[in-house]
């Protein structure tokens, strides 16, 4: 396998909850994701999935352990700036994934403007091209988010994530709030785009069916720990950990 895009090594994140009370959201988490690969991260609410995504994106500094992105360890200072454009995210709530006051083309152009400078408007042509790739014609460019359906909004969010050609994308419950039929379309879209753009993906979901559709490998999280990390095919046919079996039974 090629050099991993992202590598977490024994990462711990401890939150202070006042009066000496602490929560260990990540407890010795290690994994790597290669280019073109999707790691599915499943587990119930509160198990630490979103925290793992934030650490992977460089949004949160781990309490201990190392995070390597394209071979380089996360710097002590300003961890974000250096990765601008190289990592992106598609987040959960389709209602708030887009600024309600910005037209679609502006939202999609923004990450490119952040990396290459210039006004949003100058990046509209690139925005239109990427919108087309996620199945939205140019007529959507000047619409506001409230004029779109939940599925269309997540398409726009995906277009925004793709416009800088990132090498790594986190999908945090990106389809969980959508109808099942819409989910299928979006999952298909992500799959096709990954085949074309070869980004590494961390696909976070509490929904094992959605993960099954995309993930090459699956990690199961419980109370901050990964209890099983396996090839997707092996995981779905013969889960080893009792907790994995328990989760799969509800499928």
């Amino acid at each position: 396998m090629s050099e991993p895009v992202l590598e977490l090594d024994d990462v711990r994140v401890v939150f202070k909850r006042g009066r000496g009370h602490t929560v260990t959201a990540m407890d010795g988490i290690s994994f790597r994701i290669a280019a073109g690969e999707t790691l599915g991260l499943v587990g119930e609410s509160g198990s630490g999935k979103t925290t793992t995504g934030a650490v992977a994106l460089g949004l949160r500094r781990p309490t201990s352990g190392t995070v390597r992105f394209l071979g380089a360890a996360q710097g002590r200072r300003r961890p974000r700036g250096a990765r601008a454009g190289a990592v992106q995210a598609v987040l959960q709530n389709p209602h708030w994934s887009l600024n309600p006051r910005l037209a679609v083309a502006d939202s999609v152009a923004e990450p490119l403007a952040a990396v290459e400078a210039g006004r949003l408007r100058t990046h509209h042509p690139a925005a239109l091209r990427i919108l087309d790739q996620v199945g939205l014609p140019a007529s959507f460019a000047q619409r506001l988010p409230h004029e779109l359906s939940g599925g269309q909004r997540q398409r726009v969010a995906i277009a925004r994530a793709l416009i800088t050609r990132p090498s790594f994308i986190v999908f945090d419950e990106a389809v969980s709030a959508l109808d099942v039929s819409v989910q299928a379309h979006i999952l298909n879209l992500i799959h096709d785009l990954q085949t074309e753009h070869r980004f590494a993906a961390l696909f976070i979901s509490h929904d094992l069916a959605a993960v099954r559709y995309l993930a090459h490998r699956v990690a199961v999280m419980r109370t901050g720990q990964i209890v099983e990390l396996a090839d997707a095919h092996r995981f779905y046919t013969a889960p080893r950990h009792p907790y994995s079996r328990q989760l799969l039974e509800t499928l």
Partner: protein
């Protein structure tokens, strides 16, 4: 642009459906128009001209009566409304700028910055408005500047807090996180993402601040620390009228009615703006 136009039209359509609000807007428009016409055309006479005997009840030469010097009340009232509205509006514009800047920064930055901004606000807010206003007068001396500074100082803490809370909620939204991940700079995030999404709160709080501003001006001028004679303001006229309340009640009734009407109308406009921007809260009147 098109979308904005559509939204404005929709807002106006809703507005015309709301009779109470329409009444309130008319009251405010009438006050502004009356003062403008009065000041520009001199209709109703000069405010400082002596037109008849002292303390006359309303009559043909003096529609709202005369004061203790024989001046007609009407032009003085128009002048007073103008002074009060202008002073309060100017002060609230300052408040809006200061509070929006502080609130957006506090809401987006969170942490110690927010702590500091809100703590200072809490200290100011814990003083009764009029005590704060008199303190300002003690430092700056009586006058228009004092009234202006006092209104700003009294209205800034609450508005900053409200804008800060709204900005905090917006800062937690997915699109702000996504912008941060994309490497968008903090100033750009505040201007592009936070500010437009707290504009509604700014409008609502600005309206409420305006009615507080009018009250503070009234209170200060009433106590003699605000607008000074021979100028007029609603507070000053009420103070003067109070001296002759028994013999010439019209002198206090006219400016009093205008003050109450203006404040009620402004609060109604504020309530309906709030209904539009924060639909979950129920309205306080009706």
């Amino acid at each position: 642009m098109k979308a904005t136009a559509v939204r404005v039209r929709r807002a106006l359509a809703m507005r015309s459906g709301d009779g109470l609000l329409r009444g309130a807007v008319w009251v405010l428009l009438a006050l502004v128009l009356a003062t403008l016409v009065g000041q520009l055309t001199g209709a109703g006479g000069r405010p400082d001209a002596i037109v008849g005997p002292r303390l006359q009840p309303p009559g043909s030469g003096w529609l709202l009566g005369t004061d203790n010097l024989g001046r007609s009340l009407l032009p003085r009232l128009l002048q007073g409304i103008g002074t009060t509205l202008l002073l309060s509006t100017l002060a609230v514009a300052c408040t809006a700028v200061i509070s929006t800047a502080l609130g957006v920064v506090a809401g987006y930055r969170g942490g110690r910055t927010a702590e500091l901004i809100l703590r200072i606000g809490d200290v100011l807010y814990s003083f009764p408005a009029i005590v704060l206003a008199v303190l300002v007068a003690a430092v700056l001396g009586p006058g228009r500047t004092t009234a202006l500074a006092a209104i700003v100082l009294v209205t800034v803490p609450l508005m900053t807090r409200m804008v800060g809370v709204a900005a905090r909620a917006v800062a937690r939204r997915e699109f702000v996180t996504a912008a941060r991940i994309s490497g968008v700079s903090a100033p750009t995030i505040m201007l592009r993402h936070i500010l437009p999404n707290v504009a509604g709160t700014v409008a609502v709080q600005g309206t409420y601040a305006l009615s507080v501003g009018i009250l503070v001006e009234g209170g200060l001028s009433f106590l003699g620390y605000g607008v000074q004679l021979p100028d007029a303001s609603l507070g000053l006229l009420i103070q003067e009228g109070g001296l002759y309340m028994v013999g010439a009640p019209w002198l206090i009734v006219a400016p009093g009615v205008v003050l109450v009407a203006a404040i009620m109308a402004i609060n109604l406009v504020g309530d309906s703006l709030r209904d539009r921007f924060e639909p979950r809260e129920t309205r306080s009147l009706v």
